[in-house]
Amino acid sequence: MPAPVRRYALAVLPLTLLTGLYVVAHGQVSPGGGFQGGVVAATALHLLYIAIDYRALRRVRSVALFTLADAAGEAGYLLVGLGALLSGAAFLRNVLPYGTTGTLASGGTVPLLNAAVGVEVAAAVVVLLAQFLDQAIVIESADGSQDQGHTPQGGASGRTSEGRTPQGQKSAPGSEGGRR
């Protein structure tokens, strides 16, 4: 991609991340919530692939870590629900005091649930797109058609992708010299 697009992406990525976190945190005060904010944050991470190249995204995104974060978000949601159960109220009932309306603390346990859902949705979208990207981006060194996002198969994700060209790209990393 041209240089201004790369600079724009590197400048806007943290802003998008912060917007996502802002939308997650203010779920109970203004429109937004865990899901919307999580998707915005996940899209921010993929700015790396869209504006720079796939290898940059792969350096930052380790699918194992995000699968773990997905599970952790889900577990967080459950624990907040169980917390209410343990303290004698029904599952997921609000046990925290209601602060003043219009502030973060006004939602009782809702901000905690929003945060858990935010983490879970962001991680789930990253893992989902990782599957899409691994499928769609394969080594094309055989016929020299330069593909933007080359990824040596058997990388962090470790899955071989059926999209690989029949010549078999076992030697792919070796032949990477020609491409960007």
Partner: protein, 89 residues
Amino acid sequence: MGGDLPVVVALLLVAVAGTAAVLARDPVRQAAVLAGLGLALALLFAVLQAPDVALSQLAVGTALTPLMVLLSVRKVRRKARSERREEHE
């Protein structure tokens, strides 16, 4: 009538975008039309006082849907190209 003019206009936009989405046959063109339909829907939800739903539509429909559609198009094209190359060998 004046009170819900924005709703009527938003519904008109969704109708136009929806028809275009149905008529578009080529997936690449459809990806662009889907993005337009997503925007029209988000405006309709905003005008109908449903900002949370509009925000969800914006978050998913602006960048994620086109990305997934175009990645699938690339995968299908790559498979077709490699099959054609096999026939030539």
